[in-house]
């Protein structure tokens, strides 16, 4: 808590603007978080900027000591950012970001990776466990392929930079690296095409909600070579190369004196980009912007608490638990994987997993798309409810914290409304076709009616293929249900235990983890219950 005044100094020195409507606070249970100030009188409209962070204040591999020690690609990646973070952190006060870095923990304790063995048992059969396994593989890959070669090849320079007080073996150990990954991955953002991933002060103070108040916005499309907003020499050069010109030829005749271009004459020495005299037009910032109108009644706040939330993305319970160490009951973006069960079914029937359906069939994965709107949800994470376009980019990812490369991400999933994904649909259909059904154009419409709560009288009129698909789905769901081996506890029963834990006191770390585990279990079970109920209703099983 006492670190906040130093942090305020850091903000001032770096031209980081934070709206006076916000208070930055700290509590042991919530960590640093952002509250709406008590002084706020008027609602905050959509698109109001609440914080502006110049890109020059962002900590990234390219803006740090590391910029000439790693290839451009690696600089943009998570591994590059983690290495930059490690070095800057070890520089202590010598780092321009020291007052920001001081506020970060040495590792994200609540992440699933750091739970005790017996604690991890609580979520053994959930998606979280699968995602954790994949995350461990990613970590090993980053450490072996990026960190270790870097430490070996740049050993002399890095040692000279950080000094002899830091024991080298400790600094380069996998444990240190894993701790750093947990901290960085939980709070980094994708900044733009030049910087890649970066740590953005202030923006990362906001906690996550599935009904978020604000979004993180930046201009993503900049020159990859130099980060320039507008046209730069690299565009002109690309055009020249495309036209096949030789750069060394002089342009035109020399009879008239060449034009003196005003902007270029300042480049005799490199113009320094930190110059205070830059006009506001040139300022390039990462912004926290109001997404949903923040309003309050005279008596109090319409929102449950005064806390202002960002969205880290439409993340499932498993992803939230592994990467960020928390869980939200009835997470609006939740989904559940049925991949393991589906693979088992394929194996039992001897169907190769990777076989594509031939050209005469209707169901190769490209052709399937046009049938599936409304039946399956979009795989692109667009903000479908608002129908807006995020500012100046078409990447769905940029209005929330970056997810690392998807690890353990199955494409065969059901969501909280019990809808099934495009790939799951494909797989189910292929399964039914291979086990004796025939493709039927009406199957789609029938299934659609089923999942829109069709009356049970429809059960008799379902065509063969539709019936097969639903029956297969039911098998998958049942097997998944049985996997938990918890005696078939219902989500409502988990809820009872969870609400008991809602304490007027602060939970211990272990209690907190238990609670999160139970929430994840409740979420997954509820998704299964919903989907099962629909299938059973459609098949006439009451």
């Amino acid at each position: 808590m006492e670190k906040i005044p130093d942090f305020i100094d850091f903000l001032l020195e770096n031209d980081i603007e934070v709206s006076p409507d916000l208070d930055i606070c700290y509590s042991p249970s919530r960590g640093y978080h952002v509250l709406l100030s008590l002084d706020v009188k008027n609602p905050l409209a959509r698109n109001t900027p609440l914080a502006r962070v110049p890109k020059s204040a962002v900590l990234s591999a390219s803006s740090s000591v590391l910029c000439n020690l790693l290839s451009d690609d690696k600089q943009r990646s998570l591994a590059g950012l983690v290495l930059a973070y490690l070095i800057e952190r070890n520089l202590g006060d010598r780092s321009p970001w020291s007052r920001y870095l001081d506020m970060l923990p040495s590792r994200e304790e609540s992440c699933l990776r750091f739970w005790d063995q017996d604690e991890q048992e609580w979520v053994r059969e959930t998606d979280a466990a699968d995602i954790l396994r994949a995350a461990e593989e990613d970590l090993a890959e980053m450490y072996d392929n990026t960190a270790t070669p870097f430490f070996e090849s740049q050993r002399a320079v890095v040692r000279a930079t950080i000094g002899e007080n830091v024991p080298w073996d400790n600094f380069t150990s996998k444990k240190t690296f894993a701790d750093a990954v947990s901290v960085v991955a939980a709070r980094c953002f994708e900044i733009d095409a030049f910087i890649g991933l970066g740590l953005c002060p202030v923006a990362d103070l906001f906690n996550h909600s599935d009904h978020e108040d604000v979004h993180f916005e930046t201009r993503f499309e900049v020159c990859e070579w130099c980060g320039n907003n507008d046209t730069c020499e690299h565009d002109a050069q690309a055009l020249r190369e495309a036209a096949g010109e030789n750069d060394n030829e002089s342009e035109g005749d020399d009879s008239a004196p060449p034009e003196i271009e005003d902007g270029n004459n300042d480049d005799f020495n490199d113009i320094n980009v930190d110059d205070d005299d830059d006009g506001d037009d040139d300022k390039d910032t990462c912004d926290i912007v109001v997404h949903r109108r923040i309003a309050f009644s005279r008596q109090g706040y319409i929102q449950r608490t005064r806390e202002i939330f960002n969205s880290y993305g439409p993340l499932s319970s498993g992803q939230l638990l592994v990467k960020y160490g928390f869980a939200i009951r009835r997470n609006a973006h939740d989904y559940l994987s049925l991949e393991r069960e589906m693979r088992a079914l394929y194996r039992e029937e001897g169907i190769p997993w990777h076989e594509l359906i031939d050209g005469s069939g209707h169901f190769n994965s490209d052709a399937g798309t046009k049938h599936l709107d409304g039946f399956r949800w979009q795989d692109e994470w667009e903000d479908v409810s608002e129908g807006e376009e995020s500012r100046e980019h078409d990447h769905g990812d940029n209005h929330h914290k970056a997810s690392s490369e998807e690890g353990g991400e199955s494409e065969l999933k059901i969501d909280i409304r019990g809808r099934i994904s495009f790939h799951l649909w494909d797989r189910l259909v292929l399964y039914c076709v291979r086990t004796g059904g025939s493709p039927s154009p009406s199957a789609y419409h029938e299934i659609l009616r089923v999942f829109n709560s069709a009356p049970s009288s429809l059960a008799n009129r379902l065509s063969g293929t539709s019936r097969c698909i639903i029956e297969t789905l039911l098998v998958l769901l049942s097997r998944r249900w049985d996997r938990y081996q918890d005696g078939g506890i219902l989500s409502a029963e988990y809820d009872y235990v969870i609400s008991e834990e809602v304490a007027s006191r602060e939970l211990t770390d272990r209690e907190s983890r238990k609670r999160n585990a139970l929430i994840v279990l409740a979420n997954e079970k509820e998704m299964l219950e919903l989907a099962k109920a629909r299938c059973e209703k459609a098949l006439g099983i009451v």
Partner: protein, 375 residues
């Protein structure tokens, strides 16, 4: 009465008379002596004689930007001498033809810093020694009454004689072969017809292109006894010199480029000077200006770390007053906004395995050098 040289013929070509003391008034203004035997002869000669005037340089000096609000007392003195040329045998950098350093722009603001090969380092060492030679020759010619243009001519001819190209020439269309910055000019002063005055402080910034690599160095010199007696000027110049020396002490593998500015600004502030922010040190090798970018002021965030084999400059500019600058309408000359004096020193450095090598170091007989402050 003007002394007519004995037996000078009339300047009219077909006239065989001895000239009287009658002189063409226009020629007189242009500094040439043309005698005619009489008014009639003069009138007859006029149609062809007047062509002579066109070939002479008009020496009437003028300010090319009379409406510009200059920040100090210094004024440009035009016309500039014609753009100098070089023999074809001298290798040129890519911008010599169209003014644009395409090879640099390709790498503009990218973060990779070049590590020179052993061959490149050998060429760079040689180029830097020659650059030092050229600077010393130019500095030795500094004396009240000479024009900066004549120093430019000297630098240009010296470069030719050693087979080097003067790097500033045509770099983004810079019109001359060396930068000469007087008093309140921070950097990039264009050599012109202004005569140096006793009391001036002058920076000569020499850069040459030799065997495919660039060298770059500068020093500020005192012109005449008055400048050596001016307390503030001496404080400014010596502090700047010391700032560069202190910065160089930091350089070794593992050094963070962003920390150089801390040392410079600390010493500058302790001596009542400000640090110019707009212009920075830079990487230099086959390219005149490339990564890294090295600001001279404190708490900058320039990225990167020094590794053996890198070559770059540190070139702090300090001022007695404000650090802010204003550029003249020639789009080059940079002056302090309050017209107070500015000084600069520059060395080109090589990072070695254990530390640094000052490639452009002074020789025992180099002109100038530190002087004690006046208390």
């Amino acid at each position: 009465m003007v002394e007519v040289p004995h037996q000078t013929p009339c300047s009219r070509i077909d006239c065989k008379n001895i000239a009287s003391s009658l002189q063409c008034p226009t020629c007189l203004k242009l500094g040439k002596d043309s005698y005619f035997c009489g008014q009639d002869c003069f009138k007859k000669a006029w149609p062809t004689h007047k062509l002579v005037h066109k070939t002479l340089q008009p020496t009437t000096p003028y300010d090319p930007f009379p409406t510009f609000s200059y920040t100090g007392s210094l004024r440009p003195v035009y016309p500039l001498s014609p753009m100098r040329t070089l023999p074809d045998s001298i290798p040129r950098p890519d911008y010599a033809t169209d003014g644009i350093p395409h090879s640099e722009q390709r790498l503009f603001r990218t973060t990779n810093i070049h590590i020179n090969t052993a061959e490149e380092i050998a060429a760079i060492r040689e180029a830097c020694k020659l650059g030092r030679k050229v600077l010393d020759i130019a500095a030795a010619a500094l004396t009240p009454g000479v024009t900066s243009d004549s120093i430019d001519a000297l630098v240009h001819e010296t470069c030719i004689s050693i087979g080097a190209y003067p790097s500033p020439l045509n770099y983004y269309h810079f019109p001359k072969s060396v930068c000469i910055s007087v008093n309140e000019i921070i950097c990039h002063g264009i050599p012109d017809q202004r005569k140096l005055v006793d009391g001036d402080i002058v920076n000569i910034d020499v850069s040459i292109y030799y065997k495919g690599v660039h060298a770059d160095l500068n020093e500020t010199y005192y012109v005449g006894e008055k400048s050596l007696a001016d307390t503030d000027s001496v404080r400014l110049v010596e502090t700047t010199r010391e700032c560069l020396d202190k910065a160089i002490e930091l350089v070794k593998p593992g050094m963070l480029f962003r920390e150089i500015g801390n040392v410079i600004e600390k010493h500058a502030t302790a001596n009542g000077c400000s640090v110019i922010r707009t212009y920075c040190g830079h990487g230099i090798n086959k390219l005149f200006h490339c990564a890294p970018n090295i600001p001279h002021y404190a708490k900058n965030k320039t990225p990167g770390v020094a590794k053996p084999g890198m070559t770059f400059t540190i070139e702090p500019m300090l001022a007695l007053g404000s650090w802010k600058d204003k550029t003249w309408p020639d789009n080059w000359t940079s002056a302090t906004v309050d017209g107070r004096r500015s000084a600069q020193f520059e060395h080109m450095l090589l990072v070695t395995e254990t530390g640094v090598e000052v490639l452009t170091a002074r020789n025992a007989d180099s002109p100038g050098g530190p002087v004690p402050r006046i208390s």
